[in-house]
Subunit: 382 residues, 2 copies
């Protein structure tokens, strides 16, 4: 009956509302939230919960979560999947759906995703399709999932044609971002998530970017700055999602750094030993700013400031930083053209006029991207 | 360039609107519609179409459909799957999703389901999840799919825990019910679909049931009565769907005959050599009426009239009609309890006060069902 997490004295969490009409929900951010999960999830009216987690996170936190739910009389099951991107597959979907059905989850009940973006995306997708939709709660355990993937309702799996190409929009009923869970996160994963935090400043909040430059050490170390960074990121993402839930317009801004980033992930065959998502994003953010500068859209000093900050936080910033290299310019372009942000053949980029001033730039010519990347590969490998 | 279907001179089709707000669409019913598919689908603004069909239907109609689409400048692909319920699986989903991605279908483009309910449910589900949703058009080729599965937006696959347990609500953009395609349908499939036609009369339209008693032979033979029966069925289903798109209430009426029917399908292991869906429904309709009569809810004469009509049309009406038998009463009850219409443990049935007077009856005691089934198994096997 005694669990460290349950015993922690949580300070009042920060609440970030996501006002999506009948799909509205709250994101709670704070240390020790996992010990309060049972009461909060029971308040949603569920009688059973299927917890989905991975083999890194499960042994650390599944018992505390399960105990909190059971203490409220919820019937629970726990499914533990292999960690890593490969789990976001058709086979993973089948496994989670079958586990949720096995647990006799009905429409009023819940799936609880306890893990990083891989578990959140997969379990959320399973919740979207089991019985044509059951509710789900996100308990994100990586910085990336707390500030990005658990917010906004995009769920899915990967196909051999590309990442996240099969999925659903399915909003969670609640997000519990327990920032204490990040204390066990490998530093490399922490950094990768931090790239997404920085992204929100770069999109439209220069003040937040400056705050990050001043406080990133405290965010990494834990404490109130971490909660503040997570909550501010969730607020930023929620604002965009509310404006464009189904990604027909504005939401594309969130892809700042991602067209390049995804291409790098594809080139490195999603091998996390070489590159994790957030590292691809960090390089992508730098490329987006340098590309904007090379097009004369953005001051070069801003691109340099972006690079300096990400580098200070320990993130890669150049194509040459990718272990094992990132292939030829043509291979990179090809990988970019396969991205789902291709509309009618033309490339859409998110570019910037400066820090906190990004915009959607459709119809970018492949030739100008090629010329820019050629320069980059030369300067990257001196 | 010359195709029988394309050359057919179609009379003006009957239009059944499905007024679902921003998801509104039309069902067109008529002979020879497949030859007009290209123009109608091009009018939806798609530039590419991924046709999904099965190995029975493809050789008969895929060329005509493809030619009609290509004549309008649409880029097309054709994926042919094995016929039968087993295709509605995770593996089938993966295959169709990958084929749709391979065909580079983007959000404005279309998936076209050319086949019976198996293909419609599977291709519709794939359309719901590829890129988190692309549009799709139903070209139903069985009577069952024309009057039932292609209307209402329920899509999905089967899991080892039961039928249709994994899926999505995803409305088509258009339904083209070409009644001439039913000319090649095996008589047993025709009869199975006819059980669903009769169901609409039994739910709330005694006049339509009487019309069916008078005209079923013409429906089977083809001609204007067939079109009329299909259109009237679509109208009936559309009305219920519009009242309750996501099956939280009223839509359950459509399950008349299905709680028993699904249990029979489960008991016969979905072996279509023994029982196809519509045959299970025919027996289920008779059971629902006889159960209602046994509870004193419905005149016995109505139950007899239902049975007489379905029998006249060549359909099974008794548990004893299932080739190879349908197991013990307990096995049947168990199969029913697994059905997704179980809410909090109690059984929900659709019962009737008479022909055209069905209603949702939640909280039916397992004991009274058991007693009824015991009688049925005795009278079925004299
Ligand atoms: N849905 C969206 O909107 C969205 C947005 C961005 C990214 N994503 C997806 O998110 C995924 C990446 O998410 P991620 O970076 O969280 O990866 P992840 O889920 O693979 O987690 C990274 C690693 O950290 C481990 N881990 C997680 N929490 C831990 C903890 N508290 N302590 C110790 N180890 C822990 C995991 O087991 C894993 O090995 C990608 O699949 C990406 O496509 C989705
Ligand atoms: N989505 C819904 O709302 C809904 C409703 C009812 C049933 N269903 C589903 O529908 C499925 C049953 O549909 P079905 O009865 O159409 O089965 P089906 O798709 O398996 O078709 C029956 C057989 O007829 C063949 N066939 C189809 N059209 C033909 C034609 N024109 N000529 C010759 N042969 C043809 C098929 O190849 C198959 O062998 C089940 O999986 C059931 O769960 C869905």
């Amino acid at each position: 009956m005694s669990h460290a997490a349950a015993q922690a004295e949580p300070s009042a969490p920060i609440t970030v509302p996501v006002p999506l009409g009948e799909r509205a929900y709250d994101i709670l951010v704070g240390r020790g939230l996992i010990g309060t999960a049972g009461a909060r999830i029971a308040a949603l009216g569920a009688r059973a919960a299927a917890i989905v987690t991975d083999a890194h996170v499960g042994p650390l936190y599944a018992d505390a979560l399960a105990a909190s739910l059971e203490a409220q009389g919820l019937r629970i099951s726990v499914t533990v999947l292999p960690p890593g991107e490969a789990t976001k597959s058709y086979a993973g979907l089948e496994r989670v759906c079958d586990a949720v059905l096995e647990a006799r989850i009905e429409r009023g009940d819940l799936v609880v995703a306890l893990g990083g973006g891989v578990i959140g995306d997969l379990a959320g997708f399973a919740a979207a399709v089991v019985r044509r939709g059951v509710r789900f709660v996100q308990v994100p355990t990586t910085l990336l999932s707390q500030v990005d993937s658990s917010v906004g309702g995009k769920t899915g799996i990967n196909s051999r044609h590309g990442k996240n190409l099969v999925g659903a929009f399915h909003q969670p009923s609640l997000v519990l971002a327990d920032t204490a869970l990040l204390d066990t996160l490998p530093i490399r994963e922490m950094r990768a998530g931090y790239a997404e935090v920085v992204k929100y400043g770069l999109i439209d909040d220069p003040g937040f970017f400056a705050w990050c430059e001043a406080h990133w050490r405290e965010v990494f170390a834990g404490g109130p700055e971490r909660d503040r960074a997570v909550a501010q990121s969730c607020r930023a993402k929620a604002a965009v999602v509310v404006r464009d839930e189904h990604e027909n317009g504005d939401r594309a801004l969130l892809n700042l750094g991602h067209t390049f980033g995804h291409a790098l992930e594809r080139i490195t065959a999603y091998d996390s030993a070489r590159l994790v998502h957030g590292e691809g994003v960090a390089i992508g953010l730098c490329l987006a700013f340098r590309f904007s500068a090379s097009l004369g859209l953005c001051p070069r000093a801003d691109a340099e400031r972006v690079e300096a900050h990400l580098k200070a936080a320990g993130l890669p910033t150049r194509l040459g930083d990718v272990p094992g290299g990132c292939g030829t310019v043509d291979a990179l372009l090809d990988a970019m053209a396969q991205d789902k942000k291709v509309k009618g053949g033309a490339l859409t980029f998110i570019l910037a006029r400066g820090i906190g001033q990004s915009f959607i730039a459709p119809g970018i010519e492949a030739e100008s991207v090629r010329a820019f990347l050629r320069d980059e590969t030369n300067t990257s490998r001196p």
